[in-house]
Amino acid sequence: MTTPELIASFLGAIITLMVLSYLFADNPLFRLAIHIFIGSASGYAGAIAWHNVLKPGLVDPLFAVGLRGIAQPSALVTVVLPWILVLVLLLKLSPRTSRYGTLSMALLVGVGAAVVVGGAVSGTLVPQTLASMESLSPASVAPQTGETGLERMINVSLVLLGTITTLLYFRFGQRQSLTGEGETPLAVISGVTIPGPAGLIRAVGKAFIAVTFGVMYAGALSAALVVLVERLQFLRDTLSNLFGALG
């Protein structure tokens, strides 16, 4: 390991320990590490934006076309118009002139909303709706996982049940409260209230949602543990390299 790499690893280890000091409480070391991270990330992002976006997309074309080429029709669209939109958008920085930047902002928001809505309808809404209408035929085969027979029937049934009960849990068209007030319970056994049919359906939907959130939480916990393992291995390797270099 070279010396710069060793120093970088050592600084990384120090910053890692500063972040882990949050275990004690919010302290200056933790805040200092956070500020360092935010500052370095912002500076790096600014440099990336200049080198990857602004310079090749805005400045270089202007120099390539030159002053005489600006009057050309193609340059008006590819060079002048972007510059005008950018300069107008900069007027948003001042409250007095912010209204002049509305055109650029409207263009950004309008195009972005249209792209997002179109993609959501064609890429999520329709495919996911069709996914909940799978055939219960034992002969059909899942295209990705290869499930078939009883296994697929069970999976498709679970998907159907989860979809219906989850939608009913959000009380579309029902007036009962989330706690089931106003609904006659089916029975009370040993102090435990057995809800009525509507309440039972909502309880099943609630269970599906709980399972989903549980899976997501387990995944997040798993990811966090992997990161913790990686940090501990990094500290171990850094200390090992440092002691090796010193020793």
């Binding site: 275990l23 004690f24 409480a25 919010d26 990330a41 790096y44 992002a45 990336i48 934006a49 080198h51 990857n52 976006v53 090749p56 997309g57 195009v111 972005g112 792209v115 997002v116 993609g119 959501a120 064609s122 890429g123 999520t124 495919p127 996911q128 069709l130 996914a131 799978e134 899942a142 295209p143 990705q144 996982t145 290869g146 102090g191 989903t212 899976v215 997501m216 939480y217 387990a218 995944g219 997040a220 916990l221 798993s222 990811a223 543990l225 992997v226 990161v227 913790l228 393992v229 990686e230 940090r231 501990l232 291995q233 171990r236």
Partner: protein, 684 residues
């Protein structure tokens, strides 16, 4: 009340102020009264006040008459005040229409109110004996008596012959008192002595009840017991100074005759008796007893007494506005300071009516407020007050060590560090692998090697510890197959992560930058840029990132490198792999890019927390995602398929112990919660 409002301008004034500071209007009422009319000036003789019956020992008339006879003074002559106009409108309105005209009335007009000189007036009666209307009445009574066979004695002659009837006093004239009387002082017509006072005098008292019109009875004209003659009480003795009405009846000065004017004997009695009708007697009985002693005091007592019957008094419009008016003595009365009567004392003022302290109309309104509205008003009030309140800076609490936090952290750190530092315990690599892992492995294994694969590093540096380990196995398989690789990102820090991973794996498989691998860099613009990149990649990203120096010096962009030379669309890539930890990023690529990828597969390398939200895109009938690799177990299985040990396998032991410790902590937490729930249930 802290302040009083001016009745004229409604502005506030100090409570002790008598006049408005702003407009000069009188604030405290200037009570009329005093000794102007004798009886009205006495306490208890308030207009409309409660009248008390006169005790029988207060026979003031007898006493006055005795004094008069002893002094040999001539009897005063009472004159009626000339009334040239009609009856007051308020009195005219009270009279029912269609009531038959009675004696003393001509067309609803009382003859006693006629001015001097008018036919049937007092003056004419004085000159030629009884007035015309009285003569007609007498003739009518005589005819009736003859028809019924009764004696020729009418009620008037009966009264004349009644005991106690005394000669009517001589003419007594009273000088006009400017500014005191209701009517302007003018030469009054003499009041005829034999002038019957009012309508009921048409019939004897015994028959007055039956003959009284209904409207008069309803208006309060209650007859006194028959035979009760109060006329003598109304007339002061001859030579004695004029006195107030004996029982303190309300004094209507407009009906008082002027002194010195022509006079006529009341009731036509030469003896000076004034025969009041029974209904007026009843009214006079209601007068306050306190009025008697003061009736003879003061110069105003020279005014002729006149009374209003109770029914008439009750109809005075002033009563409707002012039930109690304190009539003060003349000395106590204030001088009028405004208006055309300025400078006069004792003016019957209308100001007290308007200057009567009363609550403003606006302020007296009471709102019907419900409890809820009151609570909301209180809430709003508190909110407004809270806005003005200065919030004290709360003292920062000293950080306290949380035992549970320390316990959880200690357990996790120990479980994770133990395998990292000591290498034990060791967990066997998973023998089971996810079902989608096989299809993904096959997919990568069958990719065309001549077309580049696009790797999208869309995750933050914080997730590099997981996603580097998960994605490394797949990237190694791509490199094993020799497929050119192009990287890009939609996050500013993604380029650095991509360069870091490629720099670590590339040398193992002899990947030369610019020849087998190239970095396109950062794509700005979010979902719109992803769609633009899917349509026209060369227009979305112009140059590239971290190209070799010789290429930069030659002005070669990433699109000119051998890796991307034949790529003009997203479908030209053999594989698009998105490595991300966020569901939103995965959704954007599935929604925006998949439509323009053609047969190019889209593979997601995901963090474990993002898998539940992306898996539906994979298991759909028309999948938007063709392969998923998620989590450290799947990565370990993928490395085992490839027959090598990578980052996933290196972290497997520590990950296993950390997961085991986490499961114990979760189980302990669940047990603690259940115990608490059970104990709370037992307590209930």
């Amino acid at each position: 009340m802290s302040e009083q409002r001016c009745p004229m301008c409604s502005r506030p004034n100090p409570p002790e102020a008598h006049e408005c500071w702003h407009c000069g209007a009188r604030l405290t009422p200037l009570d009329p009264g005093g000794s102007a009319s004798g009886s009205a000036s006495q306490p208890g003789s308030r207009l409309g006040g409660e009248r008390q019956p006169v005790p029988p020992e207060q026979d003031w008339l007898d006493r006055i008459r005795a004094e008069s006879e002893a002094a040999g003074e001539p009897e005063p002559d009472f004159t009626a005040e000339p009334v040239t106009g009609e009856l007051p409108s308020w009195l005219e309105e009270m009279k029912p229409e269609g009531s038959p005209p009675e004696a003393g009335e001509e067309g609803g007009r009382v003859s006693a109110f006629k001015a001097a000189g008018e036919p049937g007036g007092m003056e004419a009666a004085d000159e030629s004996g009884p007035p015309e209307w009285l003569r007609r009445i007498r003739a009518r009574e005589e005819e009736r008596a003859q028809d019924t066979g009764e004696s020729g004695q009418d009620w008037l002659s009966g009264l004349r012959g009644s005991p106690g009837a005394e000669p009517e006093p001589e003419d007594v004239s009273y000088p006009p008192r400017p500014g005191r009387d209701m009517a302007a002082p003018r030469p009054a017509a003499p009041e005829s002595r034999d002038l019957p006072p009012e309508r009921p005098r048409e019939r004897p008292a015994a028959a007055s009840q039956e003959a009284m019109p209904s409207w008069l009875r309803q208006a309060g004209g209650q007859d006194a017991p028959p035979g009760q003659d109060r006329a003598a009480e109304q007339l002061p003795p001859s030579g004695s100074p004029p006195t107030t009405p004996p029982f303190g009846l309300p004094h209507v000065q407009a009906l008082i005759g002027e002194g010195g004017a022509g006079e006529a004997p009341l009731g036509g009695k030469p003896e000076g008796e004034v025969d009041l009708p029974d209904w007026m007697d009843a009214a006079s009985l209601e007068g306050p007893a306190e009025a008697l002693p003061a009736a003879s005091e003061g110069e105003d007592s020279r005014l002729a007494p006149a009374t209003l019957p109770s029914w008439l008094e009750a109809m005075r419009p002033v009563e409707t506005f002012r039930p109690v008016v304190q009539i003060q003595t003349e000395d106590d009365q204030a001088v009028e300071s405004a208006g055309p009567l300025a400078g006069l004392r004792g003016v019957l003022i209308a100001e007290p009516l308007v200057a009567m302290p009363r609550t403003a109309t606006v302020g007296s309104m009471q709102l019907a407020v419900s409890e809820r509205q009151y609570a909301q008003a209180e809430l709003l009030h508190r909110m407004v007050e809270d806005e003005e309140r200065e919030v004290q800076a709360s003292r920062r609490a000293r950080p306290q060590l949380n035992f549970i936090r320390w316990a959880v952290a200690g357990v996790l750190l120990f479980a994770t560090a133990l395998p990292v530092l000591s290498g034990s315990p060791r967990f066997s690599l998973p023998s089971l692998e996810p079902r989608e892992l096989g299809s993904l492995f096959t997919l990568i294994d069958t990719l065309p090697a001549e077309r580049p694969a696009l790797l999208v590093f869309d995750y933050e540096p914080g997730y590099s510890g997981e996603l580097d380990a998960v994605g490394e196995a797949l990237i190694e398989q791509i490199m094993v197959r020799g497929i050119p690789i192009a990287t890009m990102t939609t996050r500013p820090t993604g380029s650095l992560l991509a360069m870091r991973v490629i720099d670590r794996l590339g040398p193992r498989h002899d990947y030369v930058p610019g020849e087998e691998v190239v970095h396109l860099g950062y794509l700005s613009g979010g979902a719109t840029a992803v769609q633009l990149f899917s349509l026209r990649p060369r227009e979305a990203i112009l140059q590239g990132f971290d190209l070799p120096e010789d290429m930069q010096e030659a002005g070669i962009t990433a699109w000119d490198t051998p890796v991307l030379r034949g790529v003009t669309a997203l479908s030209d890539f053999s594989l698009v792999t998105v490595i991300t930890a966020g569901t939103e990023t995965a959704r954007v690529w599935a929604e925006q890019a998949k439509n323009y990828m053609g047969q190019t597969p889209l593979v997601m390398v995901l963090s474990a927390g993002a898998e539940p939200m992306v898996r539906p895109y994979y298991e759909a009938r028309e999948p938007r995602v063709n392969g998923i690799l998620t989590g450290l177990p799947a990565a370990t299985a993928y490395e085992r398929r490839m027959g090598q040990e990578g980052l996933a396998a290196q972290r497997w032991n520590a990950f296993g112990t950390a997961m085991l410790a986490s499961e114990f902590i979760l189980a302990a937490g669940i047990a603690y919660g259940l115990v608490q729930w059970w104990m709370a249930r037992q307590e209930r």
